[in-house]
């Protein structure tokens, strides 16, 4: 069976996240639990960042909601492999709706890293890019190198539908942790998105 080979090199989530953030302007970023959002925070806080402290697997649905609410703003969902495996159905929903302002990036270390490095299905049998394609997101690709990541990112929001990227990464944990104050995080995110009176008391 002819399948696309997996990415040949293991990249690093913190380095790739920094490269992503360096390219962003006013785009919203919704980052899944644990190392995914710690490395986003570590790359330098932006007002348009939403850091999840629970609800594992909901980064893509939350990002879809933001994308529908603000169709002129680019929205990026960051998830780990364990998180996206918990909610594969959302890829079918996103494939069906096909919002052109949504990009999904999956950091795939093949591990439930934070719970003790138990292997996930993507460590062996499951190809998450193939899953995304089959779910209805044809513009889905493996990131092969840091330069390739930059190149793929430069095409985000350029096509008709959403973009799905996945990178095989190493098992290095995030060096810093996000402050755990969900109401504050939500308020600052809404202020970053220019919504309501979230900045009224600044």
């Amino acid at each position: 069976m002819a399948t696309e080979p997996l990415a040949p090199v293991r990249l690093n989530r913190a380095i790739l996240t920094k490269r992503l953030v360096a390219k962003l302007d006013r785009e919203a970023v919704v980052a899944g639990i644990g190392n995914t959002n710690w490395d986003l925070f570590g790359a330098g806080h932006r007002p348009e960042n939403f850091y999840m402290l629970g609800s594992m697997g909901l980064a893509c649905p939350i990002a879809l909601g933001v994308a529908l609410a603000q169709p002129e703003r680019g929205v990026i969902a960051l998830e780990g492999d364990g998180s996206i495996l918990m909610s594969l159905g959302c890829l079918a929903t996103i494939g069906k709706i096909a919002p052109r302002n949504l990009t999904i990036i999956v950091w795939d270390n093949g591990l439930y890293q934070i719970t003790g490095k138990q292997p996930t299905a993507t460590a062996g049998s499951t190809d998450i890019v193939a899953v995304a394609k089959a779910a209805g997101i044809p513009n889905a690709q493996w990131v092969r190198t840091e330069a390739h990541f930059d190149q793929l990112l430069s095409r985000r929001f350029a096509d008709d539908g959403p973009l799905f990227l996945a990178a095989k990464i190493d098992d290095k944990p995030g060096p810093v942790q996000t402050p755990r104050d969900p109401a504050l995080i939500r308020n600052r995110f809404m202020k970053g998105l220019g919504v309501g009176n979230a900045g009224a008391l600044d």
Partner: protein
């Protein structure tokens, strides 16, 4: 005006423009009304917690929205409520068609329905069981306004007294009688 038309009118009166849902028999008139009306955007989700995520994101992005599900679907969303919407103070308006009571034929539905109100109470989420067309618009209108003004979620439980219940169940009751 049917109960579902009256309900949708209250959503419009409150600028609720997005519905995320997992389909259900009793909800069908609401869902048909939403998907056939350009006023609304709709997202048919694969799971109810996915729908909660969508409306949470939409609200943070400035779009008022509602989640619709069946009783059994509510049993899937405790984590999304407890670790996302409640601590983040994201008002989530939930419409839940009530199975498990007044003629339920499926024991699984009966048991899962008994978990719903205790979970809502435990999380401090206001809930209203809607039983008649006369009081329903007032309850829904005021409670949606309260939810958005206080950034607190609300659940509307659609009783068989309002909706007539599940048509499949009604057919079974007839043959049982």
């Amino acid at each position: 005006m049917t109960w579902s038309e009256a309900f949708l009118q209250v959503l419009k009166d409150n600028d609720v423009r997005l519905a995320a849902y997992v389909p259900d028999n009793v909800l069908t008139p609401l869902l048909t009304g939403i998907t056939s009306d350009n006023y609304f955007r709709s997202v048919c989700a694969t799971r109810e917690d996915e729908a909660i995520g969508v409306v949470a994101g939409a609200w943070m992005g400035g779009l008022r929205s509602v989640v619709m599900m069946q009783t059994s679907g509510f049993a899937l969303i405790a984590n999304a409520l407890a670790s996302l919407t409640v601590p983040s103070q994201i008002p989530c308006v939930m419409v839940i068609s009530e199975r498990g009571t007044m003629g339920e034929f499926n024991v699984g539905q009966h048991l899962v329905a008994r978990t719903m109100r205790p979970v809502l109470d435990t999380l401090g989420i206001a809930h209203h069981t809607l039983t008649d067309e006369a009081t329903m618009p007032f309850i829904v209108d005021r409670s949606i306004k309260q939810a958005f003004m206080t950034q607190a979620s609300v659940a509307f439980i659609l009783s068989p007294l309002l909706t007539g219940g599940n048509p499949a169940g009604n057919a079974k009751l007839k043959s049982a009688g």
